[in-house]
């Protein structure tokens, strides 16, 4: 079983899991073509 210290760590990690970083957080601002994620059709290229 997890020690108390690790239980608390898990709680904090779990809370953070619900607002994870998004790709644009680590990228310079793109003034003209900022990221605009969209669920494109699966038959379009994905990479």
């Amino acid at each position: 079983p997890l020690q108390k210290e690790h239980q608390m760590q898990f709680q904090m990690m779990e809370a953070a899991y619900y607002h994870m970083p998004v790709p644009s957080d680590s990228e310079k601002i793109r003034p003209y073509l900022p990221r605009n994620p969209f669920a494109t059709p699966s038959y379009y290229i994905q990479t």
Binding site: Q9, F10, M12, M13, A16, H19, P21, S26, K28
Partner: protein, 518 residues
């Protein structure tokens, strides 16, 4: 505490001023010109008068931009999320620009010490604000402002600039030191951002590729160990919660990048990593142990009649960090160990060995695994030196009947099943690419199998090898050749053992592996 009466207002005024200078669409001046005027303003406001005031200024401004981020994030909806984030980026990026320019222009151009002192101060302040925020907001902690500040500041300070290049290694050291302070065990609410920061392509490139003479490797290894140590308690459970699975998968991706692009790094630091990766994380450990130098061509382990003893590479010792010999504690134990290895006496050393390794009676945490790993590798490397000192090469004959093998055989016999499992794991952790350690420990494992006085020892050796083989790829070369030798060579009478036929699934597994070998 006790900020000067109007410092908050002055800081707020200056920060607003700077952010609007940087972000104003009407601003025609490049940031460098605006910076000179701004520094003058800071002087006029008295901010740069003393070290104490500078420190307070950065603390207050960091808190202000963080508070703004929290405020904006609380206002966001699903549809406005992108716009809100953009607003946050604008403010934080401007603040980062200020920090970067203050660092770059601090003191004389030649005096890098002033600059690095300022950077260390600022990073320390941001880390302190983060830790305080983490403590007070708890599960409402938002990682975004700190994530953005750290990554943008890192990118700014690693841009192509001769002034910054002159002290780039100190910049990297400062960031690594700060990230170590903020390691996931200390700020778990920042863990995902932390992993994203240390696996950023520019961060990896700077530390592992660009910095000369591999000076960045030790810094990066420390961060990876911080990551593994954090994950270890959660990975010990067979069933992983979603947040842990996500973090684990992200870690696997980073390890794959390292295995592909920097295998020598994993080779050099494998020992420290395996010391902290839990024993049940078999695939992750295999990933680390599968690394081999890119200029090496590994012979196919399934080659019929492969003469491992004839390979040139087995004469060469791999580099190992950290210094595992220093991990054998206490010093009195190390002294007794060295005495025994030298004199092969007193015999009481062997009977007392287990008590040095056992730390509690609680099942599952009985043994000092780090000490056991260090003991195994130390004794093995001493054995190799001893054999070579006699002008011989390690093989099934020369490794036998020595103080070193006494210790290994004693551990195999005297430890309980848990201790023996951990002991055999320590040996199996050295089964890697062709080198003197892989060869010695492969022979040792086979020797222990052959000379075992109980079938339990043979069963556990088989268990340790098999569980590393049945996972998805990759598999270390040394693991494969050891297992193949064990099942192919009639000397070991492998197929005669009861445990080989104990269940249809096990029998099928062995037969399937044997078919690939033969």
């Amino acid at each position: 505490f006790e900020d000067p009466p109007d410092l908050y207002e002055k800081t707020e005024f200056l920060l607003r001023e700077w952010v609007s200078i940087i972000n104003s669409p009407n601003n025609k001046e490049p940031p460098s010109k605006a910076f000179s005027m701004f520094v003058h303003q800071m002087n006029v406001q008295g901010i740069l008068k003393t070290d104490d005031l500078i420190t307070r200024f950065f603390r207050l401004s960091t808190s202000m931009v963080v508070e703004l981020s929290y405020r904006l994030l609380s206002e966001q909806t699903v549809t406005t999320s992108g716009q809100i984030r953009l607003k946050i980026y604008h403010t934080l990026d401007a603040y980062v620009k200020l920090i970067a320019m203050l660092v770059k222009h601090s003191g004389d151009t030649q005096n890098t010490q002033t600059k690095i002192n300022l950077l260390n101060k600022v990073l320390g302040i941001i880390a302190g604000v983060l830790l305080q925020d983490h403590e007070s907001h708890h599960s409402d902690f938002q990682q975004l402002p700190y994530h953005r500040i750290f990554i943008m500041l890192f990118l700014e300070l690693n841009s192509a600039d001769p002034v910054l290049e002159a002290f780039n290694f100190q910049i990297l050291t400062a960031f690594c030191h700060t990230l170590h302070i903020l390691r996931p065990a200390k700020s778990p609410g920042f863990a995902y951002s932390w992993l994203e920061l240390i696996s950023h392509r520019v961060f990896i490139g700077r530390l592992l590729q660009i910095t000369p003479q591999q000076k960045g490797w030790g810094l990066y290894a420390q961060l990876l160990m911080d990551l593994f140590k954090f994950l270890a308690p959660f990975l010990r459970n067979a069933e992983l919660a979603k947040p842990v699975t996500f973090m684990y998968k992200g870690t696997l991706r980073v390890l794959l990048i390292l295995l592909h692009d920097f295998p020598e790094f994993l080779c050099d630091y494998h020992y420290g990593f395996c010391d902290v990766v839990p024993p049940n994380c078999i695939q992750m450990r295999n990933l680390i142990l599968s690394a081999f130098p890119r200029n090496m061509r590994l012979p196919d382990p399934f080659t019929p009649n492969l003469k491992v003893d004839m390979l040139q590479e087995i004469a060469h010792a791999p580099r190992v960090s950290p210094n595992f010999a220093s991990m054998i504690q206490p010093l009195t134990f190390k002294k007794d160990l060295d005495s025994y290895l030298k004199a092969r006496a007193p015999v009481t050393f062997l009977s007392e060995l287990r008590s040095n390794l056992q730390v509690s009676n609680e099942p599952g945490v009985r043994y000092n695994i780090s000490l056991l790993n260090a003991l195994v590798l130390y004794v093995g490397t001493q054995a190799i030196s001893f054999i070579r000192g006699k002008g011989l090469s390690p093989n099934m004959s020369t490794i036998a009947h020595s103080a070193h093998m006494d210790i290994f055989q004693n551990l195999a016999v005297d430890l309980d099943t848990e201790g023996r499992y951990l002991f055999l794991n320590a040996i199996a952790n050295q089964l890697r690419y062709p080198n003197s350690h892989t060869h010695y420990f492969s022979c040792t494992l086979l020797y222990l199998f052959h000379e075992a006085n109980t079938e339990a020892i043979q069963e556990q050796i088989t268990r340790v090898l098999l569980e590393r083989l049945i996972v998805n790829r990759p598999h270390p070369w040394g693991l494969l050749i050891t297992f193949i030798e064990m099942i192919k060579n009639p000397t070991y009478k492998f197929w005669n053992h009861e445990f080989v036929h104990c269940a249809p699934e096990i029998e099928k597994l062995f037969e399937s592996v044997a078919r690939s070998c033969m």
